[in-house]
């Protein structure tokens, strides 16, 4: 072996990945700042992007890191949104932070429930379980219209100003900064999570659950745990959605929302937090742009983008770019 490096040296190199955290945070802040200055009067859109990004991050935890195929992830997001919304609309508890906590708790509970059902099968049947589940959630919310407003949507959500100072107004400044803060906090926590022993365990489970069992680990317990965490993250997104838009509709619990989140994730690249974020941003910006350019047939363009990504960037946009950069680096080494 000519290229032997001693292990200490390699570990240092490995630890440089920690600087990835800084780069990541800087990137999010930078993109947020660019968004803020480029679209200063379209913060509602940016806030919407943040809420969806949280949903996609949450999906990445179970799909990207654990290999669970699901088209029903909006169940977690919508539960969070309804919990936060109902707290305000029915109980008059309008503190945004309390609403956020309610969203996190409801998301986690929905995650536990979803996980307990979806994890009972694998592959295609698993996908179908998730579809059945999201329809049940959706129907349930439709039926419980005295609580959820049914198909008319839950209105009457009126969050107080944060710390009594910053009001959620028409211009969306507060919602945007609130959302950015939440996204950064969630991102940093998830960076810790995915590199922690537990994150490694989950990556192992995705590749070979039997091997994990042979190492004395219990894949089911770990996956359920990850589902609960994922539910909490989705709950943050849902609650943010309820707080920033002050309305919750059945669409937040829909198959369509779930499928769109999955498309964004696969577009960016599964199994990486940056993949989830970049997929969301690129998909939403692209949609925004083409639907402006070709109002009635933008769906065709989105379809073409998805096909092009599969053909030319099979690991997703971020995944393929990252692989390319790595190859370049290795070629130089």
């Amino acid at each position: 072996m000519a290229l032997v490096m001693n292990s200490e040296n390699e570990r240092l190199q490995h630890q440089r990945r920690f600087s990835g955290d800084l780069i990541g945070i800087t990137a999010i802040v930078a993109i947020g700042a660019i968004g803020y200055f480029v679209f200063p009067d379209n913060l509602a859109l940016l806030t919407r992007m943040i809420t969806i990004a949280l949903l996609v991050l949450s999906l990445d935890l179970v799909t990207g890191y654990c290999g669970v195929a699901t088209l029903g992830h909006a169940a977690l997001f919508g539960s969070g949104a309804y919990a936060a919304g109902i707290l305000s609309a029915h109980y008059g508890i309008n503190d945004p932070l309390l609403m956020m906590l309610a969203g996190i708790a409801a998301g986690a509970i929905a995650g536990l429930l979803s996980g307990a059902i979806i994890l009972r099968a694998h592959g295609l049947p698993q996908l179908v379980l998730s579809i059945a589940l999201i329809h049940l959630f959706h129907e349930f919310a439709n039926k419980a219209s005295s609580w959820t407003g049914g198909s008319d949507g839950l209105s009457g959500i009126a969050p107080d100003p944060i710390f009594g100072l910053f009001e959620f107004d028409l211009y969306g400044q507060t919602a945007f900064f609130f959302g950015m803060t939440l996204l950064l906090v969630v991102f940093v926590l998830l960076r810790f999570l995915v590199r922690s022993p537990f994150g490694m365990l989950c990556r192992g489970i995705r590749q070979d659950p039997l091997r994990i069992r042979a190492m004395g680990g219990s894949p089911m317990a770990a996956l359920i745990r990850m589902y609960v965490i994922s539910g909490a993250v989705a709950g943050v997104g849902g609650a943010l959605n309820a707080i920033s838009t002050q309305v919750v509709g059945l669409d937040s619990l829909s198959f369509t929302q779930s499928a769109e989140a999955l498309v964004m994730l696969v577009l960016g690249g599964t199994g990486s937090l940056f993949g989830a974020l970049s997929g969301t941003v690129i998909f939403m910006l692209f949609e925004d742009y083409v639907s402006a350019a070709n109002p009635f047939h933008w769906l065709t363009m989105v379809g073409a983008l998805l096909i092009a990504v599969v053909l030319f960037a099979p690991k997703g946009l971020f995944g393929t770019a990252a692989a390319f950069v790595r190859r370049r680096k290795e070629a130089r080494a």
Binding site: M1, V4, M5, N6, S7, E10, R11, Q13, H14, Q15, F18, F192, L193, R195, S196, P197, F198, G199, M200, L201, R203, G204, Q207, D208, L210, R211, R213, A214, M215, G216, G217, S218, A222, R225, I229
Partner: protein, 254 residues
């Protein structure tokens, strides 16, 4: 010495066919036993019964004196019964350090920690460095598994098993598929296994069996037909019959 691993009167039938038929054996710490047998002898079923992936129709499996027959595979691993796989089952996009680190964390019940990177946990890393160093994998510890040679992957399988600090180790053809040039390193690794560990090796390669095992068990049609010293195995009439019945010639075991 008390047996650390004991199987008594184990039976398993699929349909009407007895695939494991009244198998009993006992191993003490430090034992080096090879389990051989012609194809279809029931070795795989036996391994699955022992590890808990199948449950027997009757009989008992004991680990360190404790009956584990009703305990599932994961519970048996936690009690010190660890296996390696005939075809390596490694995580292709993870590194050897991560494999061994995960095994160590799992063993210590720390694998559910949602915080901190094991690379920064000095107690874990000391063990990882030591184990991988012993098996000659130190220089590769941060490469992806998909980038390292198959012989090295086999060594990593052993490293992962050892990281779990087993009392009993089941090695399922540890050298299968490895090119001749690399088998030396695997044999060396086997020779260096901890002295107090009970090892049961399932193997086809008789050269390896003779060099490694102090005791050979022959399984045929689900039953043990020979249990004794390696030197005696080729002379045993029933063994010859079992093999000659299924092979064109006996050169394999001669």
């Amino acid at each position: 010495m008390n047996p650390v691993f004991e199987v008594s009167n184990l039976r398993k039938a699929f349909g009407g066919l007895a695939v494991t038929n009244d198998v009993s054996l006992a191993m003490a710490p430090g034992d080096r036993v090879a389990l051989i047998g012609p194809n279809g002898a029931g070795k795989t079923t036996f391994v699955n019964l022992v590890t808990g992936n199948l449950s027997p129709d009757s009989g008992e499996v004991r680990l360190g004196g404790e009956a584990v027959t009703k305990i599932d595979a994961v519970g048996r691993v936690k009690r010190g019964l660890v296996r390696s796989f005939q075809v390596t089952r490694l995580f292709q996009d993870m590194t050897p350090a991560e494999h061994v680190g995960l095994a160590v964390l799992q063993r210590d019940g720390k694998a559910k920690r949602a915080f901190g990177n094991f690379l920064a946990m000095s107690d874990v890393m000391t063990e990882v460095d030591e184990l991988l160093g012993k098996l000659g994998l130190a220089s590769l510890m941060h490469r992806r598994v998909s980038e390292i040679a198959y012989g090295q992957q086999r060594l990593l399988e052993i490293a992962v098993a050892l990281a779990l600090k087993p009392k009993v180790l089941l090695l399922d053809e540890p050298a299968a598929g490895v090119p001749q040039s690399d088998t030396g390193r695997i044999e060396q690794a086997l020779a260096d296994l901890p002295g107090d560990l009970a090892v049961l090796m399932i193997e086809h390669d008789m050269d390896l069996v003779f060099r490694f095992a102090k005791r050979v068990i022959v399984l045929a049609a689900g039953a043990i037909i020979f249990d004794g010293l390696p030197a005696d195995v080729t002379r045993d009439a029933r063994v010859r019959e079992a093999y000659l019945g299924s092979y064109a010639n006996a050169s394999h075991i001669a």
